[in-house]
Symmetry: C5
Subunit: 262 residues, 5 copies
């Protein structure tokens, strides 16, 4: 594990990762219909210059085209794999970007999704191995695992035991941070954080909810010992992304409650 | 993304790609029965010397044999993958030509077909990754994606949301231009163009239609913000390819309507 | 395409390829029962010294063992892939011989079978790509494609449209010569030759028939613009291979009819 | 085979391997619910400093993070493969850690699980081949095989003939030590040890049992000519791991009976 | 083909290969129950020092451990692939040992099993290609093919036409010697030997039979033009392996009949 305290992914050991790869994962019509201007990646890069945001997670094509204009103001978390939701097979996510090219484009960290429980789990662990060793050994670059148990045999993928398993897998096979779904309660999140030992855990933002509901779950994550949040739609699908980022900054970095932050 | 403004693929930011790989994709009897002389690739290369044509897309064997005589007058878009329609499996298209050899033969850009939604989507993304990184990093050569969602689970592959998804996938995983099917209306094409942000989008010509119908769809594409056309049968299956190229030049590069151009 | 006029595969632009890999493809009992002495490859190499034969196509083990004694008198077409007929899966033919080793053993050209329409079509195109680029780029060595559409979905693999497709595929993906089955009529063969543009096409000899029937089909191939013949059983299953080679020489290289040649 | 007598894996030719990869193999909720503090790997590393422990087997992420603080006091057996139990396919275990990186992190030996009898047996033998040759030829580093016959067609995987087969496979394909399940009786264990010839065999500890039952099986293994034990839950799921390690030291290294050791 | 006359595999052009990989292929309980001391590989190496034995075929782990003590007295045939019989899939046998490491350990030749007719035939031909080219081109080392047609579609794998096919495949794809099952009669063996042309053929010993029956089949093989025998159980499952080796020496190298040899 590369300690993230010296990295660009966190500030004071906490992270607010802004993510925007929904155009690939869900398609423009599904997630951008209400915010069509956000299809222009410059809008997201502008949002990512907000002080609260520790880094921005995007796919290769977006980084290659827009990051050169923002590399002074935005830290880049290169999301190396991704797939469309047109695919109907067992969960898998191909590597679309090499570690070498991510480093060349100035990435501060790399990210990779693993679907444990899928028929492709083993393929993904092997892809992850090569990515992790390349990132650590050649570039001293942290690796964030999107750890999402999913596939045949898994009924409820946000169950306490599943989310704890997700963070533990990330720790054992060499991630430096795990991004997991919220398991529903602060107690379950505590178990997931404890299972990760010294590896920081962030919550995945998920689909858009009300300000209060969203901030309350972030508050619970922080109380449970979590290290922050990776968020997309709950920021950029809002009319005023700055306002929710202001609130998130208070909850994540200043220890405010949801009530205090709003 | 490599800006195409400085490339041979476009002129004034617009493209008219002449394509001829139908002998491989559909077979000579299907597409050349009415124009048997066109089976001689020299005929296509001659057609490609028309001022309207920004580049010619062909397979390796054709380029290797005929391009040396035309490299002063024709820009080459090396179509790297392709398959026969004798194959009955889930959509896939193997890479028949390496980026290195395309560059050696003088290609100005490379092209690659991706069938998102196919059971082979992930394999194709991985092939595309290697091609894109080789082309960009070693040769500073643009990559055009034939982005055709197709395969089990897809019913209507020219639906608005599907074509917009097609352009967005191309942008996110690193293409410099996307070639997509016409989604039927100017409004749908606008959404596809918007989903591509700064990446240019061209329409795929498809099977032969009347002059007016064809030019009208090109006009709609240009009005929707599209960057032009990739066309095969609608040019070389015509008795007088020069005449339709004259008209296309007006619509694509001079802003004429279909009516004005004819 | 490497022009074959300067190669050892043709003479005056025409080819008579003697082939002997039937021990691998069909087994000794199936094809050599009536001519057991021919199991000794020296017998074939002796036959290949006949003036009419432009080159001999054999597998690696045969070439490695017997070609050193005949390299002054026989040109070698290294058949790189092959499989037994004990295999019951979809048509595929693994590569048993690398281009590098074929070149080291003195091959004048390489040959590779492609089964378009098979579930393994894509794998074979990819194997062919590597072989073709290695042969062309490293050794300036021609590549002959045994182009045999076959597999699920194909009912009649000698139909006119199928044989024309076979020659066109070979041209587009980079072969220098195609070997195809006889489509039954001179007119169909003309269409196959036209579909190949400038790439020479030879007929595959097939199973043994009468002298007249066999020579008549060769005559039709030559009349249709074909470049000759690749033949095995119709030569070495005969009591007097020299006699049929004499006749073939007349039909292929001297423009004789079957009647004149006999 | 690399003789283990000079290695860090054994002492006086005997081994007590402490293993902790259950967070990956079984999940934190399954095996750590009763001992949550053990989720902190430092606790295991502390336990591994006990004199009885010859080496500690963990996954890459654990070793990378915690081994640097313990490399003077603990010998590292790098467990190179592992998988989650969320996966429902035929038994397989992907390689999560390369030999090169294990060596770089200071590993004294590497470990790899093989499921003979699985549909993936052949893949695992091939992975094992590369690991074994890299470890032996480049680093002179011993390889311990977790040899667990498992998969379709195997009903009782602790049958005498199966466990003996497990040790023999390890010997023949090049392991330096085999870790196998206890076949139930001392006589069966003797057959397994004899089948391994000069290669040492250790028993896998399995799920937690009573002190006496557990130590009796270890005693039987030693009496049968076994070389010791690889143990996880039967040590760290106990309230007082030191106490059972004291007893194990007596049985394994001093020839005590279970009765004497307690 | 590398002529074996100058190799360590034969003496006077004839071979008696002692084989011992049954612990991997069949398991210790199946083949060693009656001769448990033979599980110690030193016993086999001692047996292999008998003058009649031209070389010993074992797996990597056995060679690595025991061959260094016997390399002056025993010639090593490195058996590169092998699998357990716990596996229930279509016949395949993974490569457990690289040619490079076999050469490093002092192997005089390498051996590889091919199951023509299996769904994995093509994979095995490709593995064989790499092994053969590496052995021939880098080390001038002969390659013995265990040529065993087997798999779906094959009913009787010792039929005359199948065994002849087995030897022919070995010749055509580049083996230097084939090891095949006895086809039942001297006449059938003659056809198999003739199909192999100049490549030597040895019989596979098979399961233990009476002295007379066993020696008679060897006599028939020699009379049929065969080059000898590869034998395991029929030697080391006997109470007195030396006695049968004395007899085999007479039949194989001195032209004795079974009657004379006993």
């Amino acid at each position: 594990m590369i300690p993230l305290t010296d990295s660009q992914v966190t500030r004071d050991g906490k992270a607010l990762i802004l993510a925007m790869d929904h155009g690939l994962e869900h398609g423009p019509s599904a997630d951008f219909g209400s915010v069509p201007d956000t299809l222009n990646p410059e809008k997201i890069f502008e949002t990512a210059t907000h002080d609260a945001v520790t880094c921005l997670a995007v796919q290769k094509g977006i980084a290659e085209t827009y990051y050169p204009s923002y590399d002074d103001d935005v830290n880049l978390l290169a999301k190396l794999n991704g797939t469309s939701n047109l695919w109907t097979g067992e969960p898998y996510s191909p590597q679309n970007w090499t570690v070498d090219y991510a480093a060349e484009l100035g990435a501060d960290a790399v990210g990779y999704t693993v679907y444990s429980g899928s028929n492709h789990e083993c393929d993904m662990y092997e892809d992850f191995r090569d990515i992790q060793e390349r990132a650590h050994r050649e570039y001293d670059m942290p690796v964030v695992m999107w750890s999402y148990p999913r596939g045949q045999g898994l009924k409820n993928d946000t169950k306490e035991s599943v989310i704890a398993y997700a963070t533990r897998i990330a720790l054992e096979i060499g991630a430096d941070m795990a991004k997991v779904k919220y398991p529903g309660t602060r107690e379950s999140m505590e178990w997931a954080v404890k299972s990760a030992a010294d590896m920081p855990v962030v919550m995945s933002g998920g689909s858009k909810t009300s300000d209060y509901e969203f901030l309350s779950s972030v508050e619970a994550v922080m109380d449970a010992g979590g290290s922050g949040l990776a968020v997309g739609r709950n920021v950029w699908q809002r009319d005023d992304p700055e306002r929710i980022l202001d609130a998130l900054e208070k909850v994540i970095f200043e220890g405010a409650t949801a009530d205090e932050a709003l």
